[in-house]
Subunit: 350 residues, 2 copies
């Protein structure tokens, strides 16, 4: 089966040049997997770039859009242009079944809102969430939501837990992922009412490997396979982790640079340091999925280069290959059937 | 002037043995500063320990308490015992002016609640907050609140900002500390209503070096001298940073251990690695102040050893030496006088 990918060619700070070059790299990284690209945006601008990559050109189609939105376009205007813009048309291609996934490095707010309107959420999901896969002491952990939903109800958190579970099952290949709910530590002050209510709902959820509350340091310790939180705390946790990693690197450099032995040791061990640096290259973690939609939409960082964009395309391919949406639909059917059950059958048990 | 310190001898997982040993170390670290210790708790248990340190014994008094609360006592019971327990009596010594500060490694919830009742909050402050001083790329940053207040109003956040500002001015010796409000990144979704309202209030606050919103990674980048947030996000950010530092250390070890060159480089640069490890010893960061009270109360981590407890005593000494409470009272008088102003003078301006 050929995988068809809809690319918003005008999104991202660097526009078509970066998107087309990234698509070319992703094609080579896909190693023979049959791909087809649909580039949405300005015909001329895309064609100019495509000409540079003959192999890429063969498997690509350009779909011209009269309305062009870039990362400089105000989100409100981007939204109003709906399915007529490069971004909207790319999303709509997935909604219409013409493409298997859409990838854009455009404005997050507009992209999320348009995706929600055009692709619709899976039944049982109120809002899409953005997960991240983070390295831990034990392996990898899925954290969500990372900023799509600032104010969350306990029901939202339960939905995130189910989406995170399905994501970990499919993408981390864990049969029965353990799930933790992010909270603060002290025994007697276990978070706010929303977190407490969510914990209760998760505890009662059938066949869920819920491990209760986890704390900020448990994200990177890998205590659970999935960490669930609202978008405000999740975004702050993720960025705090990024910042801390930078700080430790800086302090290490300072410490090593402060003595002759340190400098010498660094030179000798340089390949090991380089290896660590390569492994933690943020471009390799680029590509955030909007979880909970009926189609696959991947958001690339707006400021990324072609390497990062190619990685975002890779995430989309991986999402298509795993039967993620079906998995989550099945999981959610429990929630839905429970909600639809008349109250009487719950209370008149004999 | 002799500094009198009230110590809860029964708090902490290791009890009097750890507290007394820590007090001895702090005495030696104070290098001739005239200190006097008041130990609150079980007479016999404290005396047994004190006998081991003749120099310490000379400057120490034991105040026996009939009601003993330890870290195994339930917080509710600890609270009910009020000022009759070792913890309550130690706090009360500060309230009555018999001691300059109280230090306890006891239960956080009970200690915070009793301190609030016995010491009272500074006029204009609704709730005490717990700050931390974190290392950054540029130096040090004050972050608050770290878990004392889960649900905060925008007014609470403004009070935290003023307390943090005074704390940074006095303890980091910065004349006009810059203040940032923790939020999530995306331009179009700038946090919830509480954070937005707080930002507005801070922007309008006279003579405050408010720099607007900062993100999770700005905590360790040192973008501002003070980072203000509610206790839920603050606790998660702090613990996420701790966890990330551990993870980077682990990945580095793995990377260095994976090759001969890595191992060799590590051995040669070992003093530099050790230096970094020593600098980041969590015991050296032990001692959290309850900011916003009319007296100085320092919370030591319950699981710390004597080195950590000595550091918590050091924090208390440093708080006494800086005129912290007076500084914050002056700063808050602006808030109070503004609140007390009759509305008419604000509206009938001609």
């Amino acid at each position: 089966m050929t995988l068809t990918l809809a690319l918003d060619a005008m999104g991202g700070d660097a526009g078509p040049e970066m998107v087309v070059k990234g698509a070319d790299l992703a094609l080579r990284q896909a190693k023979g997997l049959p791909l087809c690209y649909l580039f949405f945006g300005d015909n001329l601008a895309i064609e100019t770039e495509l000409k540079k990559y003959p192999d890429l050109q063969k498997i690509s189609n350009i779909i011209h859009s009269e309305t062009i939105i870039t990362n400089q376009t105000k989100p409100a205007i981007a939204l109003r242009s709906g399915r007529k813009s490069n971004m909207g048309m790319a999303i709509d291609a997935v909604a219409k079944g013409q493409a298997n996934a859409v990838i854009s490095a455009g404005n997050t707010g507009a992209y999320m809102a348009l995706s929600k309107i055009l692709l619709k959420t899976i039944e049982g999901i109120d809002r899409p969430a953005i997960p991240a896969i983070l390295p831990t002491l034990k392996g990898k952990t899925v954290v969500l939501d990372l900023g799509a939903n600032i104010d969350c109800t306990s029901e939202n958190l339960v939905q995130f837990a189910l989406m995170g579970e399905a994501f970990a099952r499919q993408l981390l290949d864990i049969e029965r992922p353990s799930v933790g709910l992010l909270n603060i530590g002290s025994e007697e002050l276990k978070g706010n009412a929303i977190v407490q209510a969510a914990a209760q709902l998760l505890k009662e959820f059938p066949d869920l490997n819920f491990q209760g509350f986890v704390e900020g340091d448990d994200i990177t310790s890998g205590k659970t396979d999935v960490v669930v939180t609202d978008g405000f705390s999740g975004n702050i946790a993720l960025k705090s982790i990024e910042g801390a990693a930078k700080l430790v690197g800086h302090l290490l450099k300072e410490s090593l640079g402060g003595s002759l032995r340190g400098k010498l040791g660094y030179i000798i061990a340089k390949p090991a340091f380089k290896q660590l640096q390569t492994k933690s290259d943020p471009r390799l973690y680029n590509g955030a999925v909007f979880l909970g939609l009926k189609g696959i939409a991947v958001k690339s960082h707006g400021g990324t280069d072609f390497v990062g964009f190619a990685n975002a395309i890779g995430v989309a391919i991986s999402m298509i290959q795993h039967n993620f949406i079906k998995d989550i639909e099945e999981r959610l059917s429990i929630l839905i059937s429970r909600d639809k059950q008349p109250v009487s059958t719950l209370t008149v048990e004999v």
